[in-house]
Amino acid sequence: MVNQNMYIGGILMLANRQQFDSELQQLRQVLIDMGDLVKIAILESVNSLKECDLELAKKVIDSDKEVNKLEEKVDDIGSRLIATQQPVASDLRRILIAFKMAADLERMADLAVDIAKVTVRNGKQQFIKPLVDIPRMAEVVQLMTNDSITAYIEENVDLSYKMAKMDDEVDQLHSEILRELFVMMADDPKNVNQVLNLCFVSRYLERMADHATNIGESVVYLVKGTRPDLN
């Protein structure tokens, strides 16, 4: 963002759009705040599952309201700026990706809620197997989420690409987990409930990684103006 007077071709060019720039800055801050909430929601949802911590699960479910509010705020600021400022070029891209990123982050928070609901449904029952692969998958997803948000903050294209590569690992873990769970279901039909719940958790994490990848794509589009396919 150019927010200072500068010389182009020997002419003093005035920074004309301080109001606009400060609102773009505000939009960015809302997205960063959303990112922080989503990072916490993912971490706590997975912890609640591992520890069978119902209180923590409820906290995750409650905190979703805040994320939804911030998404609405992004929509409000972005649509107001389009209506009043006629943004073009990178200004317009900045607003367009804000809408997309807010939608991605909001979905990620919803998926964290879905995991927390699995925790609630499972209650204090012991899991049919120790949770190893799911926490591993969750770690990669958290790393991807962190990197995608950092890539946005730094407008870092390289980090976006690097982050998106991790999605392959998530996809691989997802299919391994499913395979293992299906075998357990076949072994003993009594396992069906838990197996299904854990399949869902794996699926939720896999979707989160896709949303993180979408954020990476948004960052590339913001900086380069071209649409990459990182998925």
């Binding site: 182009i8 071709g9 002419i11 004309n16 006629q86 073009v88 070029a89």
Partner: protein, 250 residues
Amino acid sequence: MSIVQIKDLDLYYGEFHALKNVSMNINEKSITAFIGPSGCGKSTLLRTLNRMNDMIDSVKISGAVSINGTNIYNPTVNVELLRKEIGMVFQQPNPFPKSIYENVAYGPKIHGIRNKKELDEIVENSLRGAALWDEVKDDLKKSAYGLSGGQQQRLCIARALAINPRILLMDEPTSALDPISTLKIEELIQELKEDYTIIIVTHNMQQAARVSDQTAFFLNGEVIEFSDTSMLFSNPSEKKTEDYITGRFG
């Protein structure tokens, strides 16, 4: 296919270097917008295309401007005939103090058309072409000064169409008009593209974005960027273009 070819064009007003090594091709039956801050050379280039700058004594021009393959700065070129090929519409509507009919018939008469029926036809077609016919067909004998600003500007477009040009030059044609008249003219420009090549200078960047196929961004007499309008306004390749169109300077 390009109808206008500008190559290595330099223009000086006395010592002032107003156009610097400008080269560009303008496609037939397309709309090209020239944008840039005041004094950047966009109107100067427009006036170079119908040799309006000839009227200024201190002007020196080098390089070539070809229209339909003819270098219009060749000394043998008949400037009157050149201007018949190239109509022009200005910022302020400037109808003659005559009737609506006479305003449109004026050019064809100068070019030797006397037949009343033929003139009637030209007047009707031109007014239809300028999307004004339905509003004035019963008032053709009334003074053009009775029309609103937007109607007067469309009358000036009709007047330009009456001599059957191939190219229409428009120098900020809507900057003196209200928003509704502006939108009417913009719609008209889109329709005129079917038959004419249109080059428009505008300070209104949204207008350039709305109406044109290609846009040239000028700064200090240079063409900084000339590309498809959608590209120039969504992902310009030059930093200076980006700074200008996003309103960071100018």
